[in-house]
Assembly symmetry: C2
Amino acid sequence: MQFQISKELIERIEQLVEERNNEELKLHLEELHHADIAEILDEISLDDATYVIKLLESDKTAEVLMELDEDDRDKIINNLSAKEIAEEIEEMDTDDAADIVAELSDDLKQSVISHIEDEEHADNIVELLRYDEDSAGGLMAKELVKVNENWSVTGCMSEMREQAEEVTRVHSIYVVDNKDRLKGRLSLKDLLTASSDAQISDIYIDKVDYVSVHTPGDEVARIMQKYDLEAIPVINEMGRLVGRITVDDIIDFIKEEAEKDYQMAAGISEDVEADDSVWQLTRARLPWLILALIGGFVSVKVLGTFDAAMEKHGELFFFVPLIAAMAGNVGVQSSAIVLQGLANQSLKGSLFKRLIKEVLLSLLNGAVLAILLIVGGMFLLNLNLDFGLTVGISLISVIIIASLIGTFVPIILDKQGIDPAMATGPFITTSNDICGILIYFTIAKLILGF
Amino acid sequence: MQFQISKELIERIEQLVEERNNEELKLHLEELHHADIAEILDEISLDDATYVIKLLESDKTAEVLMELDEDDRDKIINNLSAKEIAEEIEEMDTDDAADIVAELSDDLKQSVISHIEDEEHADNIVELLRYDEDSAGGLMAKELVKVNENWSVTGCMSEMREQAEEVTRVHSIYVVDNKDRLKGRLSLKDLLTASSDAQISDIYIDKVDYVSVHTPGDEVARIMQKYDLEAIPVINEMGRLVGRITVDDIIDFIKEEAEKDYQMAAGISEDVEADDSVWQLTRARLPWLILALIGGFVSVKVLGTFDAAMEKHGELFFFVPLIAAMAGNVGVQSSAIVLQGLANQSLKGSLFKRLIKEVLLSLLNGAVLAILLIVGGMFLLNLNLDFGLTVGISLISVIIIASLIGTFVPIILDKQGIDPAMATGPFITTSNDICGILIYFTIAKLILGF
């Protein structure tokens, strides 16, 4: 099985586009999986990609478009007319279609929707646009297979076959009453083995997991993972079955959330990629750097108040980056562990117990590091014992405080309803830098006196 | 729909365990989903949890065990006899069963396997134990629905119903030849609508994605995501169909990988959780801190070589934490963006172009920050212009170098076949601290002279 696109194929496609050799192009591309075509379009120029999208049939290109990187897709769509966009959308599932339409300008939105020939499809898209994109309503698709509890098994089978035509994958068959309210689900196995004159109401399973249109996306992800669901039905305020969310959308959601947390921890505040423009990257990175700069100003001020030390113990200043770096690293470690615990809802036990544990952990790590520092300092840097003790004791204290800040700031933010991921990366490093320097010089003043 | 376990329920269960009220316990627990039971066991003591596991039927507890946190599961299993473990394993899918058996000591492994009554199940588990746990062979389950290409549709339907009993979810029906070699797949829709005397070979789809037992897990995850597959068949060296991997296993895999990268970036080298022991946490955290300490020693040495500056321009040392922090933050930002690009295989274009872009980006960010620093420094800290320029120019230079290190160290490691995630967090911060300080004092010496 070959899952990689060869360089030769990409070059061949580029050449065929240049030659406007439509026949050969179609021959090459039509047998490929839409995800593979998307990978090729990702590699060639935007103009070439747009040419290919216009050339191929909409039933293929609609799926190709959904596989493309969002930025590339937006650029290609901008090169299409309202009618061409409508043709692509006609072939998409409602959830994908709504995502595309949501990105269009208001004028274009109207025009594209009016060009959609299938009225039901257009209505469904308009309905989905109403929901917040991170809620179950924004994640769901309208395509699903549902049967009425009052149908017979025979009637149900023929109805189902018809509905299944429109649905890429039949995960579950949902059972509704005459008012379209979700009653339960049907297993295909039971349907196959039931006698043909039985009623659906006799054989359906009335235990079914569902979410409301307003359930937040991360809650949907948590439920689907916990119960290993491949699809979950969505109901509206009246209990009516209005859509379903499938596991592939949730995988994308989980990946995006993980990337967002990772970037947040690295001090990047928007969802950016390496290939975004310098301007987009600056917008995502600069605010955090300005925060760090302000923190830097505070540390300059703090160090300035200890300038009396410079005459008698100037070498104290040589250890400032070491102390600050250790404070930063310990803080980031602690906050990362707590954040993952908060995200997985796996933090158990009382806050007091956690406090004791963090202090113990820091004492253990701090003691090992302090001994290494004192011994290494005496041998490699010719420090005297007094000075070694000063730096060693400071290191232990700084590590304890840094781990407490790293542990409890996210917990407190979380309790206040603020996203605790804010408190990682630059935020923790900066505040721990400042605290670390303050503790270090205060202890030095007490021991060495200046 | 209620997806949260109430505190009252947990207390009630604890009370019932204490009273050894088995009837009531069963009544309370048997109607719950196994994922909910697991959540309850997570909250009560290990002894109580073991009691519950021994009390309930294996067909329920096998699934509960699989939902538990790995550490808790291992502890509970250690309290069971070989025969009791075998009973649990009997009820598990082969992939889960193999995961459990793999964790047992060699003696216990033998004894547990010999207690499994279903010989085929035992053989399957032994087969799965042979594969590396991060390969397709280690991820797959033996349970699947397969039909022979020479069967008729009628024969196929009855065979399938039998096989489906053993398989929790029929994602796909695979078609094999007489030698069990994978030939294609069958859509349920086609099977339902085909005439009953047709042969499978007439109606099956010969295009099917598959992986080999040796395909690495991350490659399987990539393929299943790219092609939106819910299950993928696994073949051995002879092309025989030996198992299948379902999407729920891949979700766990993706989540674990994301967590590992996140922890690596925070300087944590093992998969630890907030509730692990102090010893486990130390083992995961201390090595990175020692690395940072060694970096700290180097920075002490570097600062020591510039001690001549202390007399004439002591205030230079006040800006050391600011410069080091900016270098660290910029480096972490750059490396995080490149790492995600490498992970998604979305890094395009030549290295030279990337170099130019990073320099441009750093110049832009650096210039804004330097102006803020100079203006802020002159007004808030009463710096003179010469000194302000020294710090400002240093800041721009440090940011450029830090972003280049952050960008290219991961790319170079990746090209060398080393996991680029190693190069984030403490590693980047430490090396950028040192480089930053060196650049800063070198520029200061050139401008201010000391």
